[in-house]
Symmetry: D2
Subunit: 295 residues, 4 copies
């Protein structure tokens, strides 16, 4: 089991009209990601509403903040018990056999214009044998054709931009990989979360954006930017693309400070807590839909 | 009550690999749009799967077609009992009081890049009094600034394109209106359906794309292209934008013919069946979420 | 020598306000493309102004047409004496040694956003040995990664679009090749002209768009769409991209018919007139700038 | 007369391969902008080539820098004797009567996609009386619909982006105004230069981007960003848009420091040197083409 301790602090200065917030800072609750303890505190005594998405386990906190400062701090202990599968056993699933909840992840979205990438995707990956290995080939193509560079992309940058500009950050890698998968009729979605920061060469722990692809009977993890160890990824939000899973969507006029974030993997072999490791197998932190019905 | 008789025929020629289809041709089932009779027939003896979206009442038919011709014909009798409200009583709803199911319609999507339109939307509509009248002003602005012209837009055209090019068809008008609403934190979504073709000057009955905006406690109809009588609109699919509600999403290589479509309003005052009419009041074919909780 | 007989007819219906035209239908006059005879006739008795660009030899005809029909017909006999060079002897020229008139063709233009393609171009072609062979590799890459398909692109389609969509017509191939060359600091420009229609499999003779690249001391021909025999290309206009060299730029409201065009290679070995042939050598129809000054 | 003293310092660190530069830092020489003294110094003893564009008076300095530091410093004393005209006497010029050198400024360019703005431009400005006042109305529209904001646009931002995003810096204002003018068949071009920094509220003197529009028989100045006093603008480069007139276009791998720039208006009424002032009349620093020939 992987145990992540996660801590986040956000600071805002709200203008005179006040502002509505939708936060997605709670660790998601899935069949394989459980929250053994958590604590939220807010500097304003406002009413809050938490809604858990029944399909993805994302938790959204809504509130209306009054003018002045707003501080949010959140801490959680999160346990991951990965579903692990043999990549060679994971087929792509024909559209007519996908669970209904998965169909929406075949369609183009704000940052993933899969409708435009059909010729490129089929020309590059169409001849490969279907299954996990083909998705891995897409991941590798994205990683090798795009350069990780800060300050080359912005909040408006989409998969087609990244295909042209060939540079970006984790979110851009994720959007391009998702768009290519969907262009091949493979369901793919965007996950916001954290990496656990084990490796100083990868920089301090931070928010991270990565990809899930539906294979066999569930969603499997892929990290197209290659900057994280997938086993240590902790999920906050899940959606079609970055538009759905901002850690804070703000409606109103607000000044923000850079978020403070800390994640840490608790290692204690005696209690079965291990350090996340690179792993060539297929990993999922989601529940399965059961065997797809026979054709 | 409005009764629409709807008939649709689709013809495809499937290539040697076969193809998967997701059809969205069934009339949706909502609290105020009921299907009193319907018939579907397919020329291939294939297994089909119908899934009804629990939130929108959209029905998706999935099947895998074999190589060769595929004909689909569908006919339905659909009854509309509109919820009618006084526009002056319909407020915009603060984000923190929206039903959770509505939140997703605040975010940008493939064809509605509301994240880019904040300054334009606030500069143009920010000073108006909130509520139905402001949404109507957005609708009117779109109608008056965009010219209805066939063959000026295509499947890739988005709201920002239409803002620049100032021409398009009903789908383009819808995308631009939706993007402007969302840029003002007003939930808005895309509906595919049919107009009933009462007015020969508006052309024969056809597929139509229009808009729903969340006001008060439910979704209200708007037709930014101004080419239909809203009271006669019959709903097929509901989604974030056109990417979600194509009448046929095809995975595979297929030749298509133009669809045949017929809609007709049954008028029989003795049975309470009326001709759809222009109406200055606010119309909804959706159920309400109940009063929003007090702030 | 190649002799092309070229004939063109254009038909317009001008609206009540009249309209200004800039035509670029005259065969260009370059050191190696000479016009041995030509005839222009116009159905309206209007004043015309012809301007020959001193650098490219393009000829622009301007006129103001009155309301009603306007017919233009133009015929010319055009002789091409190609400058032929050994591809292995053609180096790329460092920016500091380029003729001043050539510098402008290094910059991005309306349809050739070379400023965005630096990483892709350097990643794909940066390691190759400089010179004609590298430019040929760019041409081959464009031809093999883009599919020639009518009705997939439009007047707004640019090189970055084609890079994403991977389909287009000759103009789109040309724009993408030009943008890639400029991204590598290799001057490249757009030529509108005609192919001579020798091969029925390539379709009837038509307008054609192709590319010139500056190597050694002059501009050499490339046909990235692979649909023409370069030796048979006859030049009308030369510019940064299609924005500069439309055969008719119209200022006003006008209905157009499809142009009629005929080109024909006169073959008469006794007079030294040969059929254009595929040729592996480097061809130019432009004059040279003389040896670049030594560094 | 306005006398500007201009001083510029640029610092680069060139990588191991060396780099080619095209600088456009010399004050342009036009019939009404003369350089009474100037001094250029370079830290590397490299060969330089200066080319003066015969049409615009722009001067381009080319050199190939060796690895290591490169410092360029340039100082000039520049005298401006404006051509001043009565705005009411300045007509738009029909396309068929424009000087040939002006025609190119009617076409769309990298950052000014005038081909897409026809409907918007005609819908907004088409009904106005032609002439200087209409161009002024375009300028005012751009100034009032776009917000001056740093860090909202980047090197890839074009007129259509600014139309959507409604924010940018002087270069973005200029691109949008140029595109709107061209969409109405009014020649417009981009000028890079300096403002003279008289007003501390406008910030320190800096590079500035502004617009020239062809009216009557010459190019007149417009400042759509409204951040400068047009009379104090000193011209460096002139082109279709920012792609043509970067103060430094670099071919190679280089690190840059922010440029140091100083401009200063010498005021000495005894010698006829005046402070630049806001002025409601039409100003030009360009020579005239003489009266357009009668229609």
């Amino acid at each position: 089991m992987i145990r992540i301790e996660f801590q986040l602090e956000l600071h805002y200065e709200i203008d005179a009209q006040g502002a509505d917030f939708v936060f997605n800072v709670h660790a998601a609750q899935t069949p394989r990601q459980t929250v053994s303890g958590e604590q939220l505190s807010l500097s304003q005594p406002v009413a809050t509403l938490i809604h858990t998405d029944p399909f993805t386990g994302s938790r959204h906190l809504r509130l209306r903040a009054a003018p002045g400062p707003l501080h949010l701090s959140y801490a959680a202990t999160v346990d991951l018990v990965h579903h692990i599968a043999d990549p060679q056993q994971l087929p792509e699933v024909p559209v007519c056999r996908l669970p209904p909840e998965v169909i929406g992840y075949l369609y183009p979205s704000r940052y993933c214009q899969s409708d435009r990438l059909g010729r490129l995707a089929i020309g590059t990956f169409g001849g490969m044998r279907q299954g996990y290995a083909r998705v891995q080939a897409i991941r590798d193509w994205v990683q090798s054709h795009v350069t990780f560079l800060s300050n080359t992309s912005n909040a408006n940058t989409s998969a087609t931009d990244t295909l042209v500009d060939r540079a970006g950050v984790c979110r851009d890698f994720a959007h391009l990989m998702i768009a290519l998968c969907r262009a091949l009729s493979i369901p793919a979605r965007f996950v916001s979360g954290t990496d656990f920061g084990a490796d100083p060469a990868l920089g301090p722990p931070d928010f991270h954006a990565y990809v899930e692809v539906y294979l066999g009977d569930r969603w499997y993890l892929f990290d197209p930017s290659g900057t994280a160890i997938p086993m240590g990824l902790m999920r906050l939000g899940t959606g079609r693309d970055a538009a759905d899973v901002a850690f804070a969507t703000i409606f109103g006029s607000v000044r923000s400070e850079a978020p403070f974030i800390r994640t840490h993997a608790v290692v204690d072999p005696a209690r079965g807590l291990w350090l996340p490791q690179p792993d060539g197998r297929a990993l999922s932190t989601d529940g399965g839909f059961g065997a797809a019905p026979p054709t």
